[in-house]
């Protein structure tokens, strides 16, 4: 028997579940097809940074709008998602790095945003007493923060289901076919028919895009994370670095979670990941450089997720170029967690109205076509 719906969403990560929640909230019949279980890959195990700071100009508006949803995340999902707005700071270690921060703040102001500000040494030490003494200041967004990624993804999935969305775990997509004006999604166990299909398949989104005729150059990202034993409270904000690959925060439990984009390896097909300890050592060095007290802290666990990365590190959010009724939301390239709530709303707008008032210009697939054309024109293509 074929299940009829208004929208079929491929992928039960944060973006898929968020789209399901927003669509269900607006009275649409939604089915989410999740090959494993909700939050299995990157959505459940990323660094959990809720960050508007230091975004690409193409993302700033969307990200800032997204904070409105984070501030009422409990109302939206029925769970506080362990969200804390303790701020995010991007630390500068040298005057040259601090000068870059000043440029950045000026650039963001020119775009009309006020959320990013520069802080100097004294303010940095007041907010982060454990920071290494040589650090000179940094970039701060005071009401950025962090949340628990798995809990958040599940909260979105649960609320979507409570609003009537059907979340089918253990249901992988096998094929996507035209059926009149509709799409027929053929799963491992069932068939699902709807006029709209949302591609939120994360690291596997390229395969789904290919099924409808959109070619996207997607790579796999396997950003490594590690966590220490519990430590006494010494840090509230989330810390990043201007000059190093680092994201550093202390969880509610007291453990310190360290990431920042050092890469392990991942196999999309077997869904297995491996830690690269030579690279992870780089994260350890960065953490110790900014927080000397971490030298003797004991690392208990490390892991990496599987996530899609586009060539320009920006997500693909918008309608398919090749086919009607397909909406893409993928390729978040390691910084999609904060965008999850708002992008679900964008997808709902696109599914219902075919357009959105939220700022997504520059995130559609068109840009790759344009880039390819420009590249050829400038003679830097192949």
């Amino acid at each position: 028997m074929t299940v009829e719906a208004d929208v079929v969403i491929v992928g039960g990560g944060l973006h898929g579940c968020s789209a399901a929640l927003h669509l269900a909230q607006r009275g649409r019949r939604v089915v989410v097809l999740e090959r494993r279980h909700v939050g299995r890959h990157s959505s459940g195990i990323n660094a959990g940074g809720v960050r508007t700071m230091n975004r690409d100009p193409a993302e700033i508006g969307l990200s800032v709008a997204g904070m409105e949803l984070w501030r009422r995340i409990g109302e939206l999902t029925g769970d506080d998602c362990a969200f804390h707005a303790h701020g995010q700071i991007r630390v500068a270690e040298t005057p040259a790095e601090l000068a870059k921060v000043a440029e950045r703040v000026a650039m963001v102001r020119r775009l009309g945003f006020e959320h990013e500000e520069l802080i100097e040494r004294d303010e940095l030490r007041r907010l982060v007493p454990a920071i290494a003494p040589h650090c000179v200041g940094g970039l701060i967004v005071r009401d950025d923060g962090a949340a628990d990624p798995y809990r958040t993804t599940l909260a979105f999935g649960r609320r979507a289901a409570a609003l009537g969305a059907e979340v089918r775990e253990g249901e992988g997509l096998v094929a996507l076919e035209r059926a009149g004006a509709d799409w027929l999604a053929v799963g491992e166990h069932g068939r699902y028919r709807a006029p709209i299909v949302v591609n939120a398949a994360g690291a596997w989104a390229g395969d789904v895009a290919a099924m409808v005729g959109d070619a996207v150059d997607l790579r796999v990202r396997a950003s490594m994370m590690m966590v220490t034993e519990r430590m006494p409270r010494f840090l509230d904000p989330v810390i990043a670095s201007v000059g190093r690959k680092l994201s550093f925060k202390q969880s509610d439990a007291g453990t310190v979670v360290i990431g920042g984009g050092q890469q392990g390896t991942a196999d999309r097909h077997t869904e297995k990941t491996r830690i690269n300890f030579a690279n992870l050592a780089g994260s350890a060095r960065a953490a110790i450089a900014l927080f000397p007290l971490m030298q003797g802290a004991r690392l208990v666990r490390s892991w990496c997720g599987i996530e899609a990365e586009t060539v320009d590190h920006l997500p693909v959010l918008g309608r398919s170029l090749a086919a009607d009724g397909i909406i893409h939301s993928f390729g978040y390239s390691g910084h999609g967690f904060q965008l999850g709530p708002i992008c679900g709303s964008v997808v709902a707008d696109l599914a219902i109205h075919g357009a959105t008032n939220l700022p997504i210009a520059g995130l559609g697939l068109e840009r790759f076509a344009a880039q390819a054309a420009n590249g050829k024109a400038a003679g830097i293509g192949h």
């Binding site: 454990a130 290494a132 034993e229 519990r230 006494p232 007290l293 030298q295």
Partner: protein, 106 residues
Amino acid sequence: MFRKLPDPACATVAVTVDGQAMRVATHETAASAALLAAMGATRTSPVNGEPRAPFCMMGVCYDCLMVIDGVPSRQACLVPVRDGMRIERQAGARALAFGSAETADV
């Protein structure tokens, strides 16, 4: 809880267990010395402060984490004693040292 079988030939070293000076056999571990000192809890849980003591004696359970010669979170059952060793109870989460001894020595 435990006592040693008499072994007159056995060489000993001097250690302190939570400040109490004692001589123990050279082949003791910090954990077995702590058991002989009958100190009861050798740490408290970082989660809820419950008292804990060595459980498995083979490096598996991590309930014997102690501060040894000033270094926190060491598995006492895997650390052989040596002369002058300071073996101390670990209270809750490991201590922090802001840019001091810990970063310098370890």
